[in-house]
């Protein structure tokens, strides 16, 4: 998604400031930025009998390159708007495609502060089979993404989790190491002046 019109960018800013004000966090003077955060999880570790996987909830125990944040809540003065969600299978040897397979029926749920803000959104909605608000075409079938129709604000100090529910428990040989990306407008802590 390139050259977003200014109005579309400003929507994210307005929603972010409104939501954080309602929660008592005055964020207007913080530094505006673009944020991309991610977490990675191998969901084919044997023996595997589960079909539900939480992302971001355990990033504090992970090291680079598994994640680029250290806690699943933002520091005071920081926050972001989730505008794009990318699901990538980064397994390098035999990555299973995530689009145009039943793995596309994987359901995405996003929870912010105990509220569910994305409910059972299948990867089918992201791309490949369907692209309901498509991003630029992916260069392979192992990743897919969506630009959300509304802005979802993660305020500072509020925990967030992304849950993936896969249709069947993946076999160890399936080759699925999911990485979940959130991308959007954000704020960085800036006690003095901003740029």
């Amino acid at each position: 998604m390139q050259n977003l019109p200014f109005a579309a960018q400003q929507e994210q800013v307005n929603k972010f400031l409104e939501a954080t004000r309602m929660l008592g966090a005055q964020m207007d003077s913080m530094q505006g930025t673009t944020r991309i955060i991610y977490d990675t999880q191998d969901i084919t570790t044997a023996p595997n009998t589960t079909t539900s996987y939480d992302f971001f909830s355990a990033v504090s125990s992970k090291t680079f390159p598994a994640a680029n944040i250290t806690d699943n809540r933002f520091e005071p003065g920081e926050g972001m708007v989730i505008k794009e969600i990318i699901i990538a299978n980064i397994q390098t040897t035999t990555p299973a495609p995530v689009i145009n397979t039943l793995l596309g029926a994987t359901l995405v749920n996003v929870l912010i502060g105990n509220n569910r803000v994305i409910k059972d959104l299948p990867l089918w909605a992201f791309g490949g089979l369907t692209a309901i608000n498509n991003l630029n075409p992916a260069n392979n079938t192992a990743l897919t993404g969506i630009r959300l129709l509304t802005n979802l604000v993660i305020p500072p100090q509020v925990q967030f989790v992304c849950n993936l529910r896969v249709p069947q428990s993946p076999l160890a040989a399936a080759g699925i190491t999911f990485r979940v990306y959130f991308k959007g407008y954000g704020k960085l802590f800036n006690p003095r002046n901003n740029y």
């Binding site: 939501a19 309602m22 929660l23 299973a96 495609p97 689009i99 145009n100 397979t101 039943l102 793995l103 029926a105 994987t106 359901l107 912010i112 502060g113 509220n115 569910r116 803000v117 994305i118 409910k119 059972d120 959104l121 299948p122 089918w124 909605a125 791309g127 490949g128 089979l129 369907t130 692209a131 309901i132 608000n133 498509n134 075409p137 079938t141 969506i146 959300l148 129709l149 509304t150 802005n151 979802l152 604000v153 993660i154 305020p155 509020v158 529910r165 896969v166 249709p167 069947q168 993946p170 076999l171 399936a174 080759g175 699925i176």
Partner: protein, 191 residues
């Protein structure tokens, strides 16, 4: 009028004044039926969805809970062949090419709000702004973005009927999806 204003306007006319305080979201709901191995067969989606088990559907009844609603901005049909033979989620067959003419109707609260929309042949060409892009045409089915959003309020039943000209093997599944901007129940603050 934007999509959010239409959701609020429709709900307020039905007496749901709390909807502006609900959580805005992006929703995509779908339901699946067995293929019917006969030409010009009729399908009914979302009615009886409570009998379907995930991943055949991602909702459990054909009405939204209190506080939930959906402004339908697009509709799609697609098939998955040899659905039952899959043993591993990553090994299931690529969705088949969608067959020929398919006419759909959307009903909300006993009213028909989409009337005999032809999705199949129309979108196979992948021409036009309203066509749902797919990775490999015509794999992935057929679908269009609607020219106007259609709001499904909470607690009101909805269903889709389809008539498909081609025979679809009974081992395949036919999926119907609706998507758009929605609301989720949120009794406190929104994010």
């Amino acid at each position: 009028m934007n999509v959010a204003q239409q959701i609020v306007g429709v709900n307020e006319r039905l007496g749901n004044f709390a909807v502006p305080q609900m959580q805005g979201t992006t929703r995509y709901i779908y339901d699946a039926q067995d293929g019917v191995a006969a030409v010009n067969s009729g399908y009914s989606f979302f009615q009886g969805v409570s009998n379907r088990v995930y991943p055949l559907a991602n909702i459990n009844q054909n009405r939204f809970e209190a506080g939930e609603s959906l402004a339908v901005q697009g509709i799609q049909l697609f098939t998955i062949a040899t659905y039952g033979s899959a043993t591993n989620s990553s090994a299931i067959a690529v969705p088949g090419a969608f067959p020929t003419t398919a006419v759909v109707n959307l009903f909300i609260g006993n009213q028909r709000v989409l009337k005999n929309i032809e999705l199949g042949v129309y979108s196979l060409s992948s021409l036009g702004k309203s066509i749902v892009p797919t990775a490999t045409v015509p794999q992935g089915g057929c679908g269009i973005f609607l020219e106007t959003p259609i709001v499904i309020p909470p607690q009101v039943e909805f269903f889709v009927t389809a008539q498909i000209s081609a025979s679809i093997a009974a081992t395949s599944k036919v999926f119907c999806a609706l998507w758009g901007t929605g609301t989720l129940l949120n009794p406190k603050e929104t994010y």
